[in-house]
């Protein structure tokens, strides 16, 4: 069942120097219950803008967002949205910061803190519950932000480059951890990343957005069974996505290449 939430023909405009600029030019997508769909695309604000629309923070110029059949376009607080920067409040301890969502939902302080402690334990951060965010490393802050995001108890989780600030090794660890946690909690949602390998490792499907005005230019299913090994994404799928971008393996012999293309070890031809 592919329609737990749906984005229909969403257009978003930004005001530019010479008039309105289209950012999203008619994005359609559907996500089924329990699916993790990864969105890749060129850098710029298109992917984050899409997440903003799904999160209800941005009202599109045209189009709708439907959650379990209900129109939630432009209405925030139906999804659990995690922006690129952790934005943990400096004046809260990690525990109170993570409990934010529950307190907003009028859960009592003691219960909210208890549940936050449980989530922190699951995320391996229980020792830092009473620390301040600036005492944590970047990776730990991202995990705390993710804990805050999921503690809201919403079915749809939207992650904007959650591992962008992490170094390569921490990233692999984090990917494995996220995949396991996602399955355990049966979340549904979108993960935006610029890393095609990461998208293929984590996603049930990979959607590629084109440049502006962005549309879903390519959709590839990832059939590899779980658990998957981070860092070694399904080659075939990666190639399919890259081929969509015009990046193909360069099969020519070295002397068939143009002088400036004869650099050794250049395995692809860029468009």
């Amino acid at each position: 069942m592919r329609d737990f939430f749906e984005v229909r023909d969403v257009h978003v405009m930004r005001s530019g120097a010479h008039g309105p600029l289209p950012v999203l030019g008619g994005v359609d997508l559907r996500v089924g219950r329990g699916e993790l769909v990864c969105v890749v695309g060129p850098s710029g604000c298109g992917k984050s803008t899409l997440l903003g629309v799904v999160a209800g923070l941005l009202r599109p110029a045209r189009g709708r967002v439907l959650l379990a059949g209900r129109d939630v376009t432009g209405t925030p607080a139906h999804t659990a949205y995690m922006p690129q920067q952790d934005l943990l409040f400096a004046w809260h301890t990690v525990l109170d910061g993570v409990a934010l969502g529950l307190r907003v939902q009028r859960v009592g302080r003691r219960e909210a803190r208890a549940r936050a402690r449980d989530v922190l334990a699951e995320f391996g951060l229980e020792a830092f519950a009473d620390a301040r965010p600036d005492e944590l490393s970047g990776g730990m802050r991202q995990r705390a932000a993710l804990a805050r995001t999921v503690l809201q108890g919403r079915d749809v989780v939207l992650l904007d480059e959650p591992f962008g600030a992490l170094d390569a090794l921490t990233r692999l660890d984090a990917q494995r951890w996220l995949a396991a946690t996602w399955r355990a909690h049966r979340w549904t949602g979108l993960l935006v990343t610029h890393d095609v390998g990461e998208a293929v490792t984590l996603g049930d499907r990979v959607l590629r957005l084109s440049g502006r005005p962005a549309v879903v230019a390519q959709e590839v299913a990832v059939d590899e069974p779980r658990p998957r090994t981070p860092g070694v994404p399904d080659e075939r799928v990666v190639r399919t996505v890259l081929a969509g971008l015009g990046v193909v393996p360069d099969e020519r012999a070295p002397d068939e290449r143009e002088p400036d293309e004869r650099a050794p070890g250049l395995p692809v031809r860029l468009p």
Binding site: S15, L57, L58, Y81, L87, A90, W91, Q105, D134
Partner: protein, 286 residues
């Protein structure tokens, strides 16, 4: 030679200056009327304390600052928060206050006397306005300067406008507000000196005027030092408040450039450089 302990070190240059001052006076090369020795100033302090005039003057001046600056800061906070949260309030309040800020209060004092009458009201009003303007400016800047992505995060969590303001915007603006408070108290003291120099009946300024009339340079110097000490005292009070209320934020470059907010912030609002507690003058926190 062992280095002096950390608590003493900031005071060493000051002590050296005082020692130099004492030495110059002791050498007899300076007319004691022009530059009284530190000893003379201390003796004047003792005499005025014993006859009660210094404590009384301190009480009067202190009360004026407490009442005037207290009122000014309160109103400045209120206007700053309103103008920071509401575009309408900002349009109404901001330009007039920016204009007031540009007016030097030495010019205004006689005018206030004409409008408000003689006695305490013009003095208190001057101190209040001197405290209001920096408080307002820092508060409105702090509230408007809060990262717009924090607002988005609050909205994504389901915080409405009122709770976003109280639970996110105001705490985030607090460091800027406290910097403004320090500036406000500084200007309030300056305004007090001006107010007390015109037609003062009591207070440290009156003491100063009397001393000038009778050419008691030692008392003049004493009053100047008293004003300085009072200013430092209120500054230390605010810094204690900062330590109690604020989480020390390590100043430093972020790991990567921040992504833009989904919503476009108001381009007409200049984003002020918010002072971190750790970078404002007065020394590092312990």
């Amino acid at each position: 030679m062992r280095p002096p302990p950390a608590a003493v070190r900031p005071w060493l240059s000051t002590l050296a200056l005082i020692a130099g001052w004492a030495a110059v006076c002791a050498s007899g090369r300076v007319d004691p009327h022009v530059l009284p020795a530190p000893g003379a100033v201390l003796r004047a302090a003792r005499d005025l304390t014993l006859d009660g005039s210094l404590p009384a003057a301190l009480a009067v001046s202190g009360t004026r600052v407490a009442v005037g600056a207290g009122a000014g800061v309160a109103v400045g906070l209120l206007l700053g928060v309103l103008a920071g949260l509401s575009a309408v309030a900002h349009d109404v309040v901001d330009r007039p206050l920016q204009a007031v800020r540009a007016v030097p209060f030495t010019a205004v004092t006689p005018l206030l006397v004409v409008w408000v009458g003689l006695g305490e009201p013009p003095r208190l009003l001057l101190v209040a306005v001197a405290a209001l303007v920096p408080t307002y400016l820092a508060t409105v800047g702090g509230v408007r300067g809060v990262d717009p992505r924090l607002r988005e995060l609050a909205a994504a969590h389901g915080l409405g406008r009122r709770r976003t303001a109280t639970r996110v915007l105001l705490p985030a603006a607090l460091p800027a507000v406290l910097v403004g408070l320090r500036l406000a108290l500084g200007t309030a003291w300056v305004a007090l000196v001006v107010a007390e120099s015109v037609n003062a009946s009591a207070g440290v300024g009156a003491l100063l005027t009397d001393a000038r009339t009778y050419a008691r340079t030692d008392v003049v110097l004493l009053c100047v030092l008293v004003y300085a000490a009072l200013g430092l005292l209120t500054d230390a009070l605010v810094r204690a408040l900062e330590r109690a209320l604020l989480v020390p934020v390590p100043a430093g470059p972020t790991a990567r450039p921040a992504p833009p907010a989904l919503s476009v912030p108001d381009p007409a609002v200049p984003v002020p450089v918010v002072g971190h507690p750790s970078t404002t003058p007065g020394g590092p926190h312990p």
